[in-house]
Symmetry: D2
Subunit: 156 residues, 4 copies
């Protein structure tokens, strides 16, 4: 784990599939987001998941994603570690940061904004106190983006 991170992280080992690779032999850029989803589902656990799947409860929906691909990831039999922590907590939404990494290499950094959605009332619902507490336990540093660019003018 890198020195400047002083907060708890969840580490999830996510198995790859042979079919995650594209014609270049890399784990496809879209499939990296599939792996993040797997890490999230594993870390948040079955409670969040079950309430979402029962249809009468809460769905956890994705509002935003950002990802930087820093090194090509090729297929390997061993699962890939994905670190995951909380970068922001709002009223009904929160953000997760991720690093897909292995033995000194960071393959990707990413962030997902999620919000809790009441499937009966069909509107966002506030995070409950137990949910906030769980998220606070996972609070960590903001992502250090390497490639994000502030918007200025159109290309010339």
């Amino acid at each position: 784990m890198r020195e400047h991170v002083r907060v708890p992280r969840q580490r999830v080992l996510v198995p790859l599939r042979w079919s995650d690779t594209d014609v270049y032999g890399h784990v496809n850029n879209v499939m990296i987001l599939r792996l993040l989803e797997e890490a999230r589902v594993a870390a948040l656990g079955e409670d969040w998941l079950n309430s979402a799947q029962q249809g009468s409860g809460t769905a956890l929906l994705v509002a935003r994603q950002e990802v930087e691909y820093l090194a090509p990831l090729t297929y390997q039999v061993a699962p890939v570690p994905i670190d995951l922590w909380v970068t922001r907590i709002g009223a009904s939404d929160f953000e997760l940061g991720y690093e897909v990494l292995d033995e000194g290499v960071i393959y990707a950094r990413a962030e997902t904004t999620l919000f809790t959605f009441d499937q009966v009332g069909q509107r966002p619902r506030r995070l409950t106190e137990p949910e906030r507490k769980q998220l606070l336990d996972w609070a960590g540093d903001p992502i250090r983006w390497r490639r994000r660019r502030e918007k200025t003018a159109a290309p010339r």
Copy 2:
């Protein structure tokens, strides 16, 4: 097309698949990026694609993606329009902006950073003049992000 956009756009009609939807009945957030890939492949055309697939030429690799999900997209038989334009041109990389939209609804906004990669030399290669010209013809406005957040401190 919306009034404030005064630049040319490529519009690609991308067919959905029944399997794009998840357990919530929405086109899954990861599959939205799959649709962007399809729009990109269709717009950039077979020349870029073929040189990439021949293995001896240039691969077009993804360095970064950012996407905002603004409205849930459900399965429909009719293809979904995706508008696509160039938001930045660099030495060996460029950025594409996208809007997944239909009849007044914007389902998602996104941006992808792509770079040309020489598969023989195994390093990025500069955009050629014909490539730059094609990209310049597609130059458009920067994305107006609604949900991007500047990073500050850790959550408390």
Copy 3:
């Protein structure tokens, strides 16, 4: 259309996706079944689909599949024709035959057994008369399998 087929067929044009190809550059064998699903959804139409998705109605579930891969299919921009017809009609189930084909080449032959499932009662339900009539209109020849093998003894 081949001469010896004297029965009506549904022909569906199914678009490929760039991501359907695997590391060999072929449309992956699993994705061929995804294309068959698309052809089936398009041919059976929104009535069957909607009742299935409303949750209170009928699901159309897959009980069995068989597929022969006869020639490698590579990515192409043009949609791939898939012919589809009915090879058997039972009390609550039926079988669809498929050919994935193009300009004289048959890429794959397949058959799917489907059954109608009452999601409220949680059991198979009988095909309705309108459903049987629609299926009868599509009745066609049995599949001529090239590679199916009758089972005998274990390998030695």
Copy 4:
């Protein structure tokens, strides 16, 4: 393991993904074949896989698949056991049998015909002696299909 099977089997534990489920909440019928692929890749091991991916060697291609879905499989955190054995060995091809199963339930039975393909010469190549030996070690019983039907006449 069931009593009547007296031959060696390979058992592979294949992790599910949350995205394997469809709108019905079942692991989608197409994704079952994806899981079989994973089991096959894991069992056959990296030697077969690597020679295939190097492009100069042998590809292991799928010629035929048959699958019966016997019980709905829903998402679970624990990996799903897939048993796998050899049902036939030919000159340049062989067949694998599979059972997707767990604690007394058989979710699916399947069979795949695979052949070794020389990517340089672009034709099937004979199985080598070490390959035959490995396959013979895995030889097992033929699949007992429940739903396979002999072809007769067109539906009336």
